[in-house]
Amino acid sequence: MTRLVEARGVSKSFGTTTAVDNVSFTIDAGRITGLIGPNGAGKTTLLKAMLGLTDCEGTLSVLGLDPFRQRKELMRNICFIADVAVLPRWIQVSQLLDFIESVHPQFSRPRAEELLAKTKIKASAKVRELSKGMVTQLHLSIIIAIDARLLVLDEPTIGLDIIFRKEFYSNLLNDYFDEQRTILVTTHQVEEIENLLTHVMFINDGRIVLDTSMEDLPSQFTELTTSGSRAEEARRLGPIHERDTFGKKVMIFEGVSRDTLREFGETHKPAIADLFVAKVKGAS
């Protein structure tokens, strides 16, 4: 399996605040990794370091390159959508395609045009005349038409309505993703991408608090719904988080086998959002 990203002891500080604190992780080809963290956790800083937009300490290698020093080479094989608003507002769609076609060796204009033909976006339209959702469609069509090995999405669907959000991810999966391609995505709407992910990373206060595959998740974490005296007993096993729902106790356990927990009540695979709350609250 090809290793695309390798981070060892990566840190980044702004003055006295440490945005990313001694982080190590790897990302292999063919994964869809969700990077989940609260605001100000260091997500965006970490992504920027990986995209060569900011310098950092430690060793960081993306596609075998030093992102900050070899940004141009890196950008031939990496794509990113930072946020919906970054396409220049004055540009015409056809000019945008002209520009990318001539600077990007991996861009297939026919593919982009084919994808755009399925939308309402006209080649003569200016970006400023498009709705927010259409701008995202445009950006996504461009990115799908670039034969990149790694795609980085930082809150790609922020501010979009539900229809565009669903469409965005289904297009991404159908038109872009295959075994050769790798996606790293951050979002606040975890529920929407939960089923897409193959891997998940939690980041809090600049540190990685969880880094696991979705397959391994159920064997590591169990959610238990219980009540009354059984809850008391279960609590002795040391849940990492506990909450009340409709008079019942919902606990999340880490490293406790599901068979053991089944004696105390119903067990489930925890939702990413709940697990996230548990891990982040547990860490603080």
Binding site: R71, A82, V86, L87, P88, F99, S102, V103, P105
Partner: protein, 309 residues
């Protein structure tokens, strides 16, 4: 490499339509001005007829000089507009992309920061001057054609008076040399405005001009010298393009009593006054280019290292 640079230059023209619109507007104003001027003086029937008669009796040299003066008059507004346009362009070039955050998109393309910043400098010191030159040529031809037709309509020989006498090629060549040389001479300012554009968080215009005005004043008050004043204001007006003894507009055509006269020793075109050796061997030019290179490198550094998106 060159392909990328050409694409980047094209991109600048897409974004900054004022690069075309400004010379076009100046050209229209100048051409209309020439036309209305001629219509206006037509009221003075006798005087105009006398003037045309007088012009017909001038020697070929004098007529050529007169047309050269006309062509200088046509070109001047373009050069002024070009300078203003270039300043506004440079102040906007690296500022607007940060303000609307499109810098994140541009930096997601496989293009280096150096390539991008250089394309913006080239737009200001090469592309804008070349477009200005094209506008000067087109407008001059229109003004001369209108004048020729007008003279013919009044019974003069427009063909002989205007076209036979006009040192067109020489004058256009001088225009081209001038619009290319001026930005090189003023290149430290181009570098400075580019740096301000890359650096400032707000009001690039103010940040760009205030130091240029305030710094010489501070030097004057605190140190009592005026080197900065000399560097910023006096040097700017002294492009060493024309031979030292040569071009002096006040001597070129001077007013004796109330009739304009053509100086005895005026050459028929400005070409003979252009002194490329003096220009290219001027230390001021090369020092200026060095300052421009350093300021541009600083702008590249800031675009690359600063992360304020």
């Amino acid at each position: 490499m060159i392909q990328t640079q050409l694409t980047l230059l094209r991109r600048e023209l897409w974004e900054h339509r004022s690069i075309f619109i400004t010379p076009l507007v100046v050209g229209l104003v100048v051409a209309l001005g020439a036309l209305t001027g001629q219509v206006a003086v037509s009221a003075f029937d006798q005087a105009v007829d006398l003037a045309i008669l007088g012009a017909s009796n001038l020697g070929e040299r004098e007529r050529a000089v007169a047309i050269t003066v006309l062509m200088i008059a046509v070109s001047t507004p373009f050069v002024i507009a070009m300078s203003i346009l270039a300043v506004f362009y440079l102040l906007d070039a690296l500022y607007a992309e940060r303000k609307d955050r499109s810098i994140l998109f541009w930096r997601s393309m496989p293009v280096t920061d150096a390539e991008t910043v250089v394309s913006k400098l080239l737009t200001a010191i090469l592309v804008i001057p070349l477009i200005t030159f094209a506008a000067i040529v087109a407008t001059s031809l229109v003004v001369l054609a209108v004048s020729g037709i007008w003279i013919s309509m009044r019974g003069g020989d427009g063909g002989q008076l205007i076209w036979a006498a006009a040192p067109l090629f020489d004058n256009f060549l001088v225009s081209l040399i001038f619009v290319l040389a001026l930005p090189l001479w003023l290149s430290p300012f181009a570098g400075w405005f580019l740096l301000v554009s890359a650096w400032t968080k707000r009001s690039p215009f103010l940040v760009g001009f205030l130091p240029l005005i305030v710094a010489p004043m501070i030097e004057r008050i605190l140190v009592g010298t005026s080197y900065l004043n000399e560097l910023i204001f006096v040097r700017s007006g002294k492009v060493p393009l024309f031979s030292e003894s040569g071009f002096d507009p006040s001597r070129y055509m001077f007013s004796d009593s109330d009739r304009p006269m053509i100086a005895e020793d005026a050459a028929t075109s400005l070409l003979s006054y252009v002194d490329p050796v003096r220009f290219l061997s001027s230390p001021g030019l090369w020092l200026g280019l060095l300052v421009c290179a350093l300021l541009t490198a600083a702008a590249i550094y800031i675009r690359r290292y600063r992360d304020d998106s």
